[in-house]
Amino acid sequence: MSPSLTYKGVPVWRHTQVIQWTTQFVSGILVVVLVSWFAANMINAVQDREIPHGFSFLDREYQTPIGQHFLPYESSDTFLYAFIVAATNTLIVSIAGVVLATLLGTFIGIARLSGNWIISRIALIYVEFFRNVPLLVQLFFWFYIVLALPPVREGYVLADRLYLNNAGLSIPWLSVSGLGSSLGWIGLVVVAIVAGIVVHRWLVIREIRRGSAPDPLLMGIATVFVIGAVGWLVIALSSGTAPFTVSLPSPHGAFGRISDGFTMSGGLMALMLGLVIYTASFIAEIVRAGIQSVSRGQIEAARALGLSNARTLRQVTLPQAMRVIVPPLISQFLNLTKNSSLAGAIGFSDLTNVAKTMTQTAPAVSIFLMIMAAYLAMSLTYSLIGNLYNKRISIERR
């Protein structure tokens, strides 16, 4: 018998499409099985051990103090509202931290590539030191630095406006005078910003067409300020009070605690210092990698065209570097947000820590699901914004 020589085609199990579909199908099933196994395991454990669960506690009064909080809060507020207050604490830390860490990180990252030997060495030492020491250790370090400031009754005072002591930094702040007029003015400012952008665009187009026009950026900003100021005057004159008044911090009570104005508590100061400085060391490396990814030819071409160093950086290097920088940068934003949950160690009431207190009088399982959902919502929002931005700046493919 001789072997058949007829060609039978590729066997089914080596067909690309079959392989692709099978792997998709199998991994899909694996994911579903795994997730439902986790869910079933949790539900069984909750039932077997009679662990309390459910969400009926949400509209009960919380009746527990919260340390520093940015939204108004009273102990008679509900669990749900207290949770929102705590989530807002985390959100504000996260947004402020992301902005500051990005600024500092970009600065360090550029300094790292500086031709000046001392500056680039300092930046290198900064990066290597701060990204190689655990964040919790750094937080405690800043916490003890803040504690080393003088206590509140012996603290630094600048012109009765600024107070710095180990309980925090107090600065003058805007206080809402009337909800209607304040919100009205904020609305007007939003309109003003839109108008400013429109003016900017229009002037840019005019500059391109005619070759000359007033500086678009300057005029745009001027538009915002003019509309804002006129609106302020109109509201102030028509309602008798300005939309916002300035609230000055001052010592109150027998213990000289600073109230009014805005106080950044000692715990929050330490947290922000720790988070920003730690995250900036990672961002610096990302920025450096991004800048180095731009081919040298681009920079040499910019030089040849006679662009200044600053302009080369702003208009040639950074726009191209952004494509490399943005995706890992988003991860750092998420890290910063999640790392803020270490705040409880140093006396700031962030989401995780308020929620932990809630587990005393409410079911822990439900609370932890809520914490997970809250962090997830924040992270996904960052990812979404980051990905949209990334799409906008990525190379157009035609």
Binding site: Q63, R257, S265, G266, G347, N353, T359
Partner: protein
């Protein structure tokens, strides 16, 4: 990433979370339902008979029913095992009692010079280990923060939670079962002497340091509201950080249970500069907690605590544990030398009290060693934590609140 994929990702994750939440909230019936059993038995029966083709449909049905009955019986047995004797057996198999406790407050649980974790709470755990395993050192201490106490005991991962836990009704309902109050405490305040404060009522607009996840955190709000004090709080998860913050005057006052304030005052840089205010703003009965759902284990812990208390009442210390009948029926019953107080129904040795008292001493000895003269020096005489009565002399009460269910 493609925005469409991103959107799908978002939907998927949200859906999973929602599903988890909904199932948790609804959470109807678990385990095997009757139909489940029936169905599984049928498949099993059918599988076993695949090679025996001679069997009729009716035979299959019959076999299935028999199998179903055995399965139901097995299930019932399993259920029973889960509530009776489960943890005692588990502890014996493991050879160690796992307690959740602490090492950061002198008196209750802290490290001695040799690096051993010692304290009142630790000794209660040792007493339990001596009772069920005959060896006070057969313990494993899980160090947890105040805020972790609830989840730790709810999950049942430890055999006993003994970490200055205040007995409250909602904790009793949600966390576990409180065995016995071993220390009566109350919440107070500590301030610097130079503030010139003599009562907690003078703490108007003060800033107060408090530990996260404690009843003191909850009581503070009530106290502030009732007296219009408008207190601000700084909450710390970690006792060491809190002590540092108070010591450098980040807050004006430090609130905690009075006994813990006394203990932690010794950790301040200059203890004499601080004074504990006379006000007590709450009731804080402290004692060990066991996981829900195991009555036998719950009873064992209660009994061991009772043994410690009655040994003191009978005047028996670690040094004079009787091993032969003394003629005093109460002492003989306690030490398994005549009569019984229910040892065998609890699965304990007749002479369990000999092991316990011989290993850790009686309640008074544990108190003196950790909280009394040899520890953080909290006065006991004529206080709440004295015994209620000396057993030999029931008509001359000592006036304290410490007593347990009679051992008989």
């Amino acid at each position: 990433m493609d925005p469409k994929m991103l959107k799908n990702k978002v939907y998927f994750v949200v859906a999973v979370l929602l599903a988890l939440a909904v199932t948790l909230a609804a959470c109807g019936g678990g385990g095997l339902s009757e139909e489940d059993v029936e169905e599984r038995a049928q498949t099993l029966a059918a599988e076993r008979m695949t090679d025996d083709t001679a069997m009729t449909e009716a035979d299959v049905e019959e076999k299935a029913q028999m199998l179903a009955q055995t399965m139901v019986a097995q299930q019932m047995q399993d259920d029973q095992m889960e509530t009776v004797g489960n943890r005692l057996q588990a502890v014996m198999d493991r050879g160690r009692v796992i307690c959740a406790s602490r090492n950061d407050v002198p008196g209750y649980g802290s490290l001695d010079d040799a690096g051993n974790n010692v304290g009142f709470d630790i000794d209660l755990c040792r007493a339990l280990a001596a009772a069920v395993l005959g060896d006070p050192n057969a313990i494993e201490i899980r160090l947890i923060t105040a805020a972790e106490r609830g989840p730790t005991i709810q999950s049942g991962e430890v055999d006993m939670l003994v970490r200055t836990v205040t007995w409250t009704t909602s904790r009793d309902a949600q966390w576990g079962n409180y065995a016995q109050t071993m220390f009566y405490d109350g919440q107070g305040f500590m301030v610097r002497k130079d503030l010139g404060v003599s009562s907690a009522m003078e703490l108007q607009e003060a800033s107060v340091c408090v530990t996260l996840g404690t009843t003191t955190e909850l009581n503070l709000q009530d106290f502030s509201n009732q007296n219009n004090l408008n207190l601000t709080v700084v909450t710390f998860e970690d006792t060491d950080a809190l002590v540092a913050a108070y010591d450098s005057q980040q807050c004006d006052a430090f609130t905690n249970d009075l006994s813990q304030l006394a203990a932690l005052r010794t950790a301040l840089s200059n203890p004499d500069d601080h004074v504990i205010l006379p006000d007590t703003i709450s009731e804080e009965p402290l004692g060990p907690v066991v996981p829900h759902g195991d009555d036998q284990w719950f009873d064992i812990v209660k009994t061991v605590m009772g043994i410690l208390i009655y040994a003191e009442a009978y005047g028996v210390t670690a040094d004079n544990v009787p091993t032969e009948a003394t003629g005093d029926t109460k002492v003989d019953r306690l030490f398994g030398l005549g009569g019984s107080f229910g040892q065998d129904s609890l699965g304990l040795d007749e002479t369990v009290a000999q092991d316990v008292i011989g290993a850790v001493g009686n309640y008074g000895e544990i108190y003196d060693r950790n909280l009394g003269p040899d520890g953080i020096d909290l006065p006991r005489e004529n206080g709440r934590n004295a015994l209620w009565a000396n057993a030999r002399c029931t008509d001359c009460p000592k006036g304290g609140q410490i007593y347990a269910a009679p051992l008989r």
